[in-house]
């Protein structure tokens, strides 16, 4: 019997970052445990990460490349697979141009650098990510407002934490995990929770603001209304470092009286006042905010207003506030991505680039533009797709349209673990490695000041880590890459003086943190100040001041529609077991949450004759989905809360029930409903009706 070996690595069952010790026996991972030395997770792990062995060794996992001919999948070699893809891509490029190939990912398996490099060297500007409404949208908005993403500084113990539309105990692990929040909170920080739903944190909060879903930008303006009226701002900072203060104040005074903010947000005036005072007068105070604020038409404006709050209260780049973490001197994702290699004439062809200027500047497109081009061939035909770690027929808005678009492609390549409903539409399937099968300088794209060594623990079947697939396919297309994955990592690490092998032993690097960097060099914006009035937006012909725009589908903006669809659907409730459309086939996780859940207030449920556990149809003007009712008196009776990402791997027929409980059958992706500069999809808030499923 062989000995158990212990290998330190880094999880990526979500956005990842938690330290792991993998137990390996006879070449197989038999167990994973948290790494107590991890500066990110301090030895803890979540349900998703702990279940990795059930994912990696799942009987349904595809372990070799496959090609579909006449509807049947057939095993092929890597050489055959890559040659086929390269030759098809070359044909498409010759006939229609590189822009006719969409290269797309989901939330990514930490390969953004390689993914973007492949797309850029291929010559396509049509890079599809979740970035238009998830994380990168906040990076874009913060870049234009204050030059860099200011993450909350838990390490320096904020005295007041504003948890805005975020539940880091369960999800959204971008810069910080729930455990970092918890440590700071346990030291006595005041807690303000902004959430339409009474969750674990809302229950414990000093102040809980239960807002109408999607009105976060209006509420942030309400905070400003109090801060301006009571002069709770840092006068010196404002006079030296805010661009456009007077114009901004005028707008707040005119359009955002507390009375009006209460009408818009449903939050009582005195509660807004108390929260604004607590945040503005407790030092240091940090805001930790989540994706629901980004997945609306107010995406960019919310983030800009939130940055404004951090700035005027003196919390920007202050220890324990929201800070610009200094990264270790590793080469950046942007440099590796070779954005400058994309020819200018190709940049100009980016779908929706003229309309969604900030998304274009962040080098991606909003998915609607891709589906439009495929289905209408306008402004030009899109013929091929390469989708990596993404299941858009379940996870993108207006799923029915997505399905039609992908079906229409002449050639589709999918790179993933399982034959998902999206992968079933593909011509070629490339088997990707999990994080247990990956060598990478991890988390290089995050703004927490760390890079972490994710080292390969095992190899499984013929799966390759995504980075290697991009590299080898790129070489077949004549692109410039390194000889091996590890050679590329050596290049990334070069400025640190470490090789990959040395870094791997070290485990992680932390940047040399400094605060108040603006005192020396101002902010990295055109004016050198925090641009509450954006000179960049002004140049683009967009409103330079942030504001709240009424949601495209609400009882206020669509009173007629609201007669038939009287409830506000808050779509996309996160769970601690699933990561978007992933993990539904993992026994340990599915046992915990066997069914898709729709939360309904007991009063509303009784009006519809719905009881706990009943299957319920949720319907919008675009489609319907069924989920199982859970009664929750912690939501407003006018609001319905539903989980997203559901499909049924256990349904053997094709499609695996992708359209049965898929909340994106209901969501809208029309251009009118999106953020005007970012193209953020209004995923979270729409109108719906409910009824009990009679056939269950």
């Amino acid at each position: 019997m062989s000995e158990v070996k212990f290998v330190k690595t880094v999880c990526r069952s979500c956005h990842g970052g938690c330290g792991v010790i993998a137990h390996v026996k006879d070449g197989k991972v038999i167990k994973v445990e948290g790494d107590p030395e991890s500066p990110i997770s301090y030895g803890t792990m979540c349900a998703k990460g702990l279940a990795i062995t059930q994912l990696a060794y799942h009987p349904d996992r595809v372990l070799y490349p496959m090609q579909k001919t006449n509807g049947d999948w057939k095993r092929i070699s890597w050489d055959e697979a890559l040659d086929t893809v390269a030759s098809k891509f070359k044909d498409v490029i010759a006939e229609y141009g590189s822009e006719a190939i969409i290269v797309g990912q989901g939330t990514g398996r930490d390969y953004e650098s390689h993914f973007s490099r492949f797309g850029n060297l291929l010559g396509t500007p049509n890079i599809l990510t979740a970035g238009h409404m998830c994380y990168l949208s906040r990076i874009g908005a913060t870049l234009t407002t204050c030059g860099r993403h200011p993450a909350i500084d838990y390490a320096n113990n904020p005295k007041c934490i504003v948890m805005w539309a975020c539940n880091p105990q369960w999800t959204n692990p971008d810069e910080y995990k729930g455990v970092s929040f918890w440590r700071a909170y346990e030291k006595g920080a005041k807690l303000i929770v902004i959430d339409p739903r009474k969750g674990f944190l809302a229950k414990r909060a000093d102040l809980w603001l239960q807002l109408r879903p999607g009105t976060d930008a209006a509420l942030a303006m309400g905070f400003f209304s109090v801060i301006i009226e009571e002069e709770l701002y840092d006068r010196e900072f404002v006079s030296q470092y805010i661009h456009g203060w007077d114009a901004f104040v005028e707008r707040v005074r005119k359009d955002y009286t507390l009375k009006r903010v209460e009408e818009t947000t449903w939050v009582k005036q005195d509660l807004i006042r108390k929260a604004a005072r607590l945040y503005a007068t407790t030092k240091p105070a940090g805001i930790h905010w989540g994706v629901p604020t980004e997945q609306t038409n107010n995406c960019t404006d919310f983030t800009r207003t939130a940055v404004g709050l951090m700035a005027v209260t003196g919390n920007l780049d202050a220890p324990g506030g929201n800070v610009f973490h200094v990264p270790p001197p590793v080469r950046k994702v942007a440099e590796f991505s070779a954005h400058t290699e994309l020819p200018k004439e190709q940049v100009k062809k980016r779908l929706g680039g003229e309309q969604y200027k900030l998304a274009a500047r962040m080098t991606f497109i909003t998915p609607k533009c891709a589906w439009d081009a495929i289905l209408t061939e306008k402004p030009y035909p899109v013929k091929a797709g390469y989708l990596i770690g993404t299941n858009p027929v379940v996870s993108r808005a207006n799923a029915g349209e997505v399905y039609q678009a992908l079906k229409k492609l002449d050639f589709l390549v999918v790179q993933d673990f399982f034959l998902t409903p999206t992968a079933e539409l593909a011509d070629i399937f490339l088997p990707a490695g999990t994080w247990l099968e990956q060598n990478h300088v991890a988390e290089n794209w995050k703004f927490h000041g760390y890079v972490l060594a994710r080292q390969k623990v095992v190899e499984i079947g013929e799966c390759w880590q995504d980075h290697k697939i991009f590299m080898e396919l790129g070489k077949k297309m004549g692109q410039q890459w390194w000889d091996s994955v590890e050679d590329a990592l050596d290049w990334l690490l070069e400025p640190t003086g470490l090789t990959w092998d040395e870094f791997k032993k070290k485990g992680y690097l932390h940047g040399d943190q400094k605060y108040y960097k603006h005192l020396e060099k101002g902010f990295s914006t055109p004016t050198g100040k925090v641009e509450l009035y954006s000179t960049i937006f002004e140049k683009w012909g967009v409103d330079p001041l942030p504001k709240y725009t009424e949601l495209p589908e609400s009882p206020i903006s669509q009173p007629d529609m609201a007669k038939k669809y009287p409830y506000i659907l808050n779509a996309g409730l996160r769970t601690p077991t699933f990561f978007h459309s992933a993990n539904r086939q993992i026994p340990w996780l599915r046992e915990i949450r066997p069914d898709p859940i729709v939360e309904i207030h007991p009063q509303t449920a009784s009006q519809h004759n719905i009881e706990e556990g009943d299957w319920v149809w949720i319907e919008s003007p675009r489609g319907k989905a069924k989920e199982r009712a859970k009664l929750n008196d912690g939501i407003d009776p006018r609001v319905i809360v539903a989980e997203h990402g559901w499909w049924y791997p256990e349904i053997q027929s094709s499609g695996h029930g992708w359209d049965v409980s898929n909340i994106n059958m209901l969501t809208d992706n029309s251009h009118e409903s999106m953020d005007p500069v970012m193209g953020a999809t209004n995923l979270r808030v729409l109108l719906c009706n409910i009824s009990r499923c009679e056939d269950e």
């Binding site: 792990m45 979540c46 702990l50 062995t53 369960w170 346990e186 809302a202 601690p576 859970k630």
Partner: protein, 154 residues
Amino acid sequence: MEKVSMVFRKKNCMGCHACEVACKQEHGLGVGPRLVQVLEKSPDYIPIYCHHCAKAPCKEACPVEAISRNEQGIVLIDNDLCIGCRECLEACPFGAMQFEDSQEIAVKCDLCVHRLEDNRRPACMTVCPTGCIYLSGKKSIAAVFEKATRGGSK
């Protein structure tokens, strides 16, 4: 030998279920028996787990004396002796006794006794992000609560 007992501070349980998966992994369990389980009644979470009762109803109910209490106070079940009658499942006031269908035997939390021997904490405890699981070396669990309250823990 000093007795040990475990307690979950329900107030700090935020329903992440990490303890459940850590336990399944540690004990090699598949779908079915849940030696620790967190029930959700949002915004409250209720952990169901074995309290290793001093006067254990499961032990008293067992007709074949398959359940015993060791010198550390850990209530253990001997898989070889269990006849699968489920009397213990009915007797447990917490619903902590579980049944393994594939072997037709009752199973229960063993407080990761093999880990305790190596001076390691039970698997569930190591992963909890709020540290709501306490293992006390004292017989009385009251001391844990008293300490938690006095220590300013919210």
